[in-house]
Structures are given as structure tokens and as C-alpha cells.
Subunit: 412 residues, 2 copies
């Protein structure tokens, strides 16, 4: 094994994330929020199934109230009430009207509704209407919301409240969604102790099990911690093999470089059918990244230090998890997220830097957000805690200037 | 009861949302993602607790390698290896060096680390280093990430992966967070049937129980459906009273206007200690909104039609839920979300319109996102399904012009 890494570019890693979406599963509607629809959903019937009034008022034939005003109302024969939740037993003929409620079914003969506010009783069997109604005014007609066969929900849609509402409206009690990607998290390092332990001098508590599991969950995956491993090739291999049985992706942190104590690359190589795709990526923080695959499963070696591990996961694992769920929403709004840098940042050519920034409101209304780079070494977790976003300094730049407008990467 | 609504402005409703944050609870760290920290968390110890190397290399006294180059290396006496996870038993004196690993504890005497790449063995007990190291180079010193007593996590912080990482680093296995707000959802209307039923003509399936519960969950609340109620004052009252026992907010949809079949306002008024704060709000969609309170609990009457109910919930319930969780993150990035309208939209003076828009990428790099208003009646749920954001047309405008830059409200 070489003691030097051969760095891939971030874009080369992105191209390697060509894994297939996971298989679908069926969930009750009330557990499907945020899950990704596995197949397009065409309307199975007209919605609404009948012409509905959108107001309390009087169902009319629109031509009977043309030109009606306060001073010159239309006087119509009152036929009675339309029932709620049932078919009206009356028919509105010329010069006639019927009382209707919001959501009620329009009676035969009527084609519009005048709001209650513009009505007044006029004797026993007459109603005066003081405003006109155009045909279909205050009415949602049959099939106007969705007509049978129309595809409103594409596959790949991450289900929002209104999407669930549409499914409910069409009588769906369940949704067919892509299974959540399963990520097995392993922390390694002789110096790492569980969060419950009191570290002796020279030891540190395991941060990565917690941050990486949380990141996986926030991206829509399921995370399970497979524990803490010492820097020992056989023990690590057994742990990774066990994890690979369950997981769609195995995420190991620590020991991902090419040194004497870095076993991750060896352990991945020990496993049957595993192909090493990358060892080293030209980003900061996060250089010692390993990506390997075994069929449709991926194996990740992330740096041991918490900031590098988390930034790598944010940059590479989040889009992989999105891809595994089949999510195709373009999230166009992200393209609109930019800010002005408040001070210059130096970078190195040939490397993509993920710069942690805090955000402040625009200095003038309509102006750009203000992004301030957070000082401190790239390995510090505190800099991530203080950050509200990341700013990318691309490979071909040696830095970013103060006042420059830069895209924001939000989820960190 | 008046048959006309007295409309409040949206801002007047926002001012009425002055409810106290809910009490705290304690959760295991791995369940605390996205939950809101109930109290500030000061670092309970220095992080790291000792000077750590951030690279594989050689621990040195920086003055010993000043000016070292490939051609003129610093030749140092090699003392041996620093152990991982333990205190080095050696001391680096003048002209001496020791092997150290990423994450290892710096040995006494050393104040910097030269990376392995810039070293070469030179005989039995000598190492040549070909680059200098400044003091503290490639070292994270004790307390540099967080010094004991420093407050990195303020109360009101919605916990992200890195925040959980910091808590783990400091030995916290649990987090003290605000309890989730509990929302009881009730749908009303004689014409409404459960999603499992086949509606007869004139009937529609219950959409709101599903959309409103999902919205509450997406805002960080806990939702429970209390079922479907007929338009019957006594039955509704019993249902709302039961819901109020459990809930922090009761969210009822349907019957919220001021007509003969609108019982919500009466039912709220029937309950002991309930004060009606608003009946009607000058927004579209969503005019017939009711807000009432009983102590620290709120009662909401939302319109029955699905689009109005969901927009009202998005506009008013989401910020209330955020407030009840004590969340204080300003989410400054939202101020940066703007778009250019692709066509004009008419509104009415005195009313705040929430216009559904779809989004397209900027026409030129760095230009604004393109927001296209979605056609269709405001009562249609399909328009919300097609929407990616809302655009607000404020009360003092009669419309928005094509090409106008407008803020985006994202979560719908």
C-alpha cells in the first residue's frame, strides 16, 4: 500500500454515487410524511366527484342574476335548502334558487352561487339577490381539482402535507414509498472511548457515532451504531462484515488515511467482492476519504476528526442517501441561496474548500445575506457548531474575496 | 352572533401568538435531533482535554525545525513512538523528536508536529525533517475547541448533528429539550367521510386530518387525530373538551365561518375559560379563521376547504409551534430567499394574499429564481400540490407585477 493518497476530485466522487434506488415498501398515510413516492400516482377518480359550492349562499342559474345590483336585485323563487353530504332532491329552474352551504353539492339546473351576504328575504317564497354570479362562480366543478387519470404526484416526490392530502382525497390509506437507506455507523481508534466513559488523558469520547447517525437521519436514512472498534484489522473486519449484512451503506470513521495505523482501506479490501473506488479526495476538511462498493452497497471510510467526518458526510453521504431514496425533487430554491462574504478567505488551488460561515441579514433591504467565515482550525467541531452554512471555494480559485457573492450550502 | 366576520390583519394574529414555551423533558442524545435545547449548555470541561496532533508525523520543538528544507533538513534524535489513547512516557528535549499519530497526545516538551510526508530516516537514531513547523502547527491545543465554562449551545437551539456531537464530546448522554407541542386535530362537516369510506354523491373524504397532522409534525409538533365530527354543537363540544384535556393546541377544521351551520365559534365559546381572540382574518386563502385561548392552550378554527385550512396552518400554526418549542434560531437564510415573478398577480387591497408558485432556476447565472404563479381557484388542493413555495402580496398592494422581486415563503 502506498503511503501517499491519490486524490480524486469531489466531482469524481459524485460520479461514483451511481447506486440504484432501494426497493419500495407500503406505509400508512400518517407515517409517509417526508418519504419518497416509489411510483407516480394518477388520480383514480374525479376530484371533487361533483360540483361543490365554495361559499354559503344561493344556487342560481347565472343568467337569472346577470346585472343584479343593490338597487335592482334579482327576485327569485325560493325552493328550499340543499342538504349537506347528500344529493339535492330539487332542481333549479328558470327564475328559481335554492339555499346552499359551503361544500354542498350544486343542485341540478344551477351553475353558480351568489354569496349569502348579497341576499335578502322578500316575502314568503321569494329571495332578492343583489349581485350577479358568473357561470361556475363560487363553484368547484367536478374534476377541477384532479380529473381521473391525471398524474399530480410524480414518483420521486418527497411527500409533503398537501401531497398526503391529495392521496387521502383519493381514498388512499397507504402510500408506496422507497425504503429508507440503512446506514451502519462504526467509530474506530484506540484513543476513542464511549460517551459514557470518563476519558483518561490521551483519550477522547466518541463524537462521530452521534454526528454521523444524526446526519444520516436528517438526510432521510435509518442509522444504527455498530459500536466502537480498536485499531485492529481482524476485529474491524468482523465488525464491517456484520454491518454490511444489514446496511446499504457502512460508514466508518477513523483510520481512513494511508498510514501505519490506518486499517480501513485494508479491511475494506479484505472483504469479498469489495472494490475500492477512491482513497483520498481533494477537499478540505476531509482529505482522507475512502469510497468502496460491494454490488449496490457502499462502504465509506471517513476521517476520524469530527469536523472532517461530518463535512465529508454532508457533502457526499447526503446526496447518496437522497439518490438511494429515489428522490428527484430538484429543490430549485437552493439555487437562490447566495450571500456576500464579509471577509476574504484563502484556499489552495486544486482543492475544494468547504468554508464554515455564520449568516447575518442583508445590510440593505433586498441586498445579499452577509456570510462571515468562522475562524478556527478546520478540525474543530466548535466551528461547525457556530456555522449556519457552508460556502464552497472551488478548485480553480486560490481564495474568495470580501464582497464576493457566493452560493450557500445550507444543511450544515 | 353576527353573520359577518370582523377581520383582523395577519399581523394582529401574529401578535396574539404570545404563548409561553412548553416545559422541558430529558431525552437520550440519539433521539434529540431537531429538538430544541431548553437551557444553555456551557462546556463542562476543556475540549480537547490535552494537546492533540491533527496529523501523522513527528512531534518537535518548533525552534528545532525553523528553516528546515529538502536541501537543508533538520536532523533530530529519534526517541520512539507516542502511544494512542495514553500519556506519552517520553519528553522531547532540544534536538529530539518522537513519532506521533493523528489524534495522539503531544508529548511534554513538543509544541508542534511535522507531517510524516516531510520526514526521512537517517540512520539508527536520527530522523531528518524537511519542513519547518510553527508552534502549535498541526496541533489542537487543550481547550481550543471549547474551554470549560464557555457557552457554545444557547437555549432555543434546534439541535443539529454537530450540536449533538459537541454534547457527546462533553460526555452528555442526554439532552434537556422542550417537550413537543401536542396538537389535537378534529375535522367537522356532515359531508365529510373518513378516507376509508367510499363517498356517496355529495360527500367528500376527510383531507384535513391528514394534511394538518402532517403539517404539525413537519413543524416539530406531535399530532393526534380526534376524529371526524358532524355539524352538531353538543357532539362537537364534547370532542373539543376531550381534545383540550390532552392538547396544547386544538385544531378544528370546518364550520369556522359565521353562518347557520358554523358551530366552531359557538363550541369554543361554550367551553369554560375560553376567550375568543379573533374570528376572521384578512388573508386569502383562509378568511374564516378562529383563534381562541384557554390559559396557555390555543384553539383554532380553520376553514373546511383543504387549501384554506393548510395555508392558515402554514402561516399561523407553524410559527406558533416554533414558539411553543422555544426555538430562537433566527434562520437568517430565509431572508435571502427571493424570486422574480414571471407574470403579474392581482390581489385585493386590505388583504394579504398567499400566492402559490412553482420555481425555476435563474435565467442567467447569479440572477433571481423564477417564480410562476399557479393558476386555479384558491380552494383547490391540487394548486398546493403543484406549488413549491408561497409568495406574499401584502395588504397595501393591489397586485404584484411581472419581473418584481418577491420574498419566498418556503415550507409549502
Amino acid at each position: 500500500m502506498s503511503k501517499f493518497l491519490t486524490l480524486k476530485s469531489a466531482d469524481e466522487i459524485f460520479e461514483m454515487l451511481n447506486f440504484d434506488p432501494l426497493p419500495p415498501e407500503t406505509l400508512p398515510l400518517d407515517q409517509a410524511l417526508g418519504r419518497v413516492l416509489a411510483e407516480p400516482f394518477p388520480a383514480s377518480e374525479d376530484l371533487p366527484g361533483f360540483d361543490r359550492s365554495t361559499v354559503d349562499g344561493f344556487a342560481v342559474r347565472a343568467r337569472d342574476v346577470f346585472g343584479a345590483t343593490e338597487g335592482l336585485p334579482a327576485a327569485l323563487e325560493y325552493l328550499g335548502e340543499c342538504p349537506m353530504g347528500d344529493v339535492p332532491q330539487l332542481t333549479v329552474g328558470p327564475g328559481q334558487t335554492a339555499r346552499i352551504w359551503t361544500g354542498g353539492m350544486l343542485p341540478p339546473g344551477a351553475d353558480g352561487v351568489v354569496m349569502l351576504e348579497y341576499s335578502r328575504p322578500a316575502g314568503d317564497k321569494l329571495v332578492e339577490l343583489t349581485r350577479p354570479a358568473a357561470p361556475l362562480e363560487n363553484v368547484i366543478s367536478r374534476g377541477e381539482d384532479a380529473s381521473c387519470g391525471e398524474e399530480l404526484l410524480p414518483s420521486g416526490r418527497s411527500l409533503r402535507p398537501q401531497d398526503l392530502g391529495l392521496l387521502a382525497a383519493l381514498g388512499q390509506t397507504e402510500a408506496r414509498v422507497i425504503r429508507r437507506p440503512r446506514a451502519a455507523i462504526i467509530s474506530s481508534g484506540d484513543e476513542v472511548v464511549p460517551v459514557t466513559a470518563t476519558p483518561r488523558p490521551g483519550q477522547v469520547r466518541d463524537i462521530n457515532s452521534h454526528t454521523l447517525a444524526a446526519l444520516v437521519r436528517s438526510a432521510g436514512g435509518e442509522a444504527r451504531s455498530f459500536g466502537l472498534a480498536p485499531d485492529h484489522r481482524d476485529k474491524l473486519r468482523a465488525m464491517v462484515a456484520e454491518a454490511l449484512d444489514w446496511a446499504d451503506l457502512v460508514v466508518m470513521s477513523g483510520g481512513s488515511s494511508a498510514g501505519q495505523r490506518d486499517f480501513t482501506i485494508l479491511v475494506f479490501g479484505d472483504l469479498p467482492g469489495v472494490e475500492i473506488l477512491a482513497h483520498g479526495v481533494a477537499i478540505s476538511p476531509g482529505k482522507p476519504l475512502i469510497l468502496a462498493r460491494q454490488g449496490q452497497k457502499s462502504l465509506w471510510g471517513l476521517p476520524g476528526h469530527a469536523a472532517g467526518a461530518l463535512v465529508c458526510a454532508e457533502v457526499f453521504l447526503r446526496p447518496l442517501i437522497k439518490r438511494l431514496t429515489g428522490q428527484t425533487d430538484p429543490e430549485v430554491w437552493r439555487a437562490g441561496l447566495t450571500a456576500s462574504l464579509t471577509r476574504p478567505v484563502a484556499s489552495a488551488q486544486g482543492r475544494r474548500d468547504y468554508i464554515r460561515v455564520s449568516l447575518a441579514p442583508p445590510e440593505t433591504p433586498g441586498g445579499p445575506l452577509q456570510a462571515t467565515p468562522i475562524l478556527g482550525k478546520s478540525g474543530l467541531i466548535s466551528t461547525l457548531v457556530l456555522a449556519e452554512a457552508l460556502v464552497v471555494c472551488p478548485e480553480n480559485l486560490e481564495g474568495l474575496e470580501a464582497g464576493q457573492i457566493v452560493p450557500l450550502h445550507l444543511s450544515l
